[in-house]
Subunit: 216 residues, 4 copies
DNA sequence: TTTTAAGCGAGACGGTACGTCGTGTCTTGTT
DNA sequence: AACAAGACACGACGTACCGTCTCGCTTAAAA
């Protein structure tokens, strides 16, 4: 698994400049407008040097998304917060205790904020396009991109359940999917004001998650 | 606006066979693997005959998806039910009165059922890819595809609100987005059992939508 | 064998402008310096339009050589004289009777003159390069390029033999090869003054071809 | 000029195995099909080790051809016979006195014999391709390859002239070119039986070279 | 014995051309 | 007019080869 020790080692400069070039072009024109010759040229690198690392355009974009060079704040930051304080993403502060189930409101406000950033929208669209191109890797791509945050959200909700704030029979995975789904949908559908109503949805979810008090 | 009366009329056979060919290829390999030359050949038609009807690949795919050729039942049928009882989509039964807010459970169960069909998943992926391809038309495409169902859902929820089953300050649009978003997310992310937990999510939403009774 | 009557016919303008572009680039930089993208661009044509006609660079060059767009005078003119008064090569005057065997001197003087022309040198080098690239077609290429002139030369020598000016046991094919060979060799080897000594060689050949008068 | 005495000396094994690999690949597929990575791999050597010795592909091919690795006998042997009894080419026997001008017949018979060998044909083609590749070096390359033999031939002819067997005004260089030219032409043009007629041509040349005795 | 200079295997690198593919338009003759 | 057929301009794709470079390691002469 480790890189062969023989021969000239791959240039880490090239790694970086390729990903940056890909990010820039992605932000400028989206997935379609990105082409590998332009990436290579902007990165000051030969096309083959790109292909040596990523076997196709969609792999490159996937790489850029996963490396976190895209969207250094917002959704991606949320995504990696507390999970993999790695590449280019400064770790978010540990979340404090909250009086509501898992700080879901806070969570979704952050999500709403991230929806407004064009860079985040571009990232998500790039992710979707790369995943569409690459049937096999799609699941892995989404998993790696949303996984850490998603798990964090589920843990947070579970902690709320343990504190008795969330009903025990709730499917917390489904709630997490709803949270990510609404963000994805609003970005892909280019809904005008993507953050609108998020707060209200959070309220509904929080209320819906609360333990049932009456027979209703 | 009406078609010119002069000259040879357009072949309706061609319309149908093109859409069928597009559907087949879409199901076989997805959006990327579909190319217009192959569509034309399989339809037994010249390429120009396709372009005379749809101005681009993404429009053709949108057309195939919206015509319901791709998925005569399921999501697409839900989508157009009651709205545009048109091409190839048999109208769903009128929904009966329900004792819960807007029959949301029933709704989401149908949605969940439609998620299980590979053909529907393919439809949604094709739609997403077509929208990604065509930045300007993306909003319109999503609107055309989800619009009718979405409006219906909102109406149903509004009826529930009028009956006092749904709190008045709830952002019903946001709820609708959550419903569609979760479906979209699960399909695009290739989540194994896309329908799992939908019922439970519906319960949460229903409960969350209920009027607040106390201080909570 | 005739071109299919259906569909848009191939543009003869493109045929011509591609060959002209190939010729120009060949004259400017030789075989190596010619690349198909440049040919297409200069011809105002898409690369695929070139490939539709010639399946590779060497085929294109072969085509250019054979079409006679290269070297409209000199060797090529000699080559096509009396044979195929076609593309761009004005037919040479019919040769008059001569007092020496087949006018070999005259022939070789023309050959010598053609050796001085850079365009001819370029043509021959292009021919050699294309033939080298294309093992199977090499024989055909040389045959079609030199064939007509070569046959003409042989006929001329045979006429001389019939008039009793050339010994009957001489292998006239071998003489023809010597004539073409010396030209080829001097061009490929970039011999400084390619025409030097040709006249003297002609004399030797003429004398050598004369019927033996004595026992020697 | 002599190799620096410091450092690790160059491997003579590498020299040999590179030339052998080059020869093999040349015989298998010709100049075009030979690529340096394959040469290096087959020679069990790094690419740089090749480039340390020959500065380019054409130089390597020239080297392989000139070293006689390609054709230890035949044309190459003729070429270097008596001149540079060097690398891999065993010297030909000293030629005996002949009763005809310079033993031209004998010479050309040997040449004809060498034409029959596919390996020699490949050599010549490789040489031509290497020369075509390297415009500046072409003259030098031909000179190095044909020079020694050519000079020998001219000397032989001069000796004949000195003995009064060859007319004094004959351009012997031109004759030599004709001899090499016909060989080159027949090989490059893939003429079926390259050796045919050579003997007869020799007779013609010999006769043509003989001093003029009468009014002709 | 330790430097030091060069050779060497491996393989990445910049560059350039290759030949293919897909989109959307255009041009024939035919219906 | 629409249609079948297929050429066309455009532009991206992924591959191949050239000749250079950069690693870590080896070899042998010089210090």
């Amino acid at each position: 698994m480790e890189p062969s020790k023989r021969g000239r080692p791959r240039s880490t400069d090239a790694d970086r400049s390729i990903l940056e070039a890909a990010r820039d072009l992605l932000l400028e024109g989206g997935y379609d407008a990105l082409n590998l010759a332009a990436v290579a040229e902007r990165a000051g690198v030969a096309k083959q040097t790109v292909y040596r690392r990523w076997s196709s355009k969609s792999h490159l974009v996937a790489g850029a998304v996963l490396a976190g060079v895209l969207a250094p704040s917002g959704i991606a930051a949320v995504a990696v917060a507390g999970a993999d304080p790695g590449v280019g993403a400064e770790a978010a502060e540990p979340r404090e205790a909250s009086d509501e189930p898992g700080g879901l409101h806070e969570w979704m406000r952050r999500l709403a904020a991230s929806l407004e950033s064009p860079a985040n929208a571009a990232t998500v669209r790039a992710l979707a396009a790369a995943a569409a191109d690459d049937d096999d890797d799609a699941a892995r791509l989404y998993e790696r991109f949303t996984g850490p945050t998603r798990r964090l959200l589920v843990e947070v909700l579970e902690a709320g359940r343990d504190r008795g704030e969330v009903r025990t029979d709730a499917d917390l995975e489904a709630v997490a999917d709803a949270v990510f789904g609404v963000a994805l949908y609003r970005i892909l559908a280019r809904i005008d004001d993507p953050a609108a109503g998020i707060d209200s949805l959070a309220t509904i979810l929080v209320d819906g998650l609360a333990p049932r008090t009456a027979t209703r």
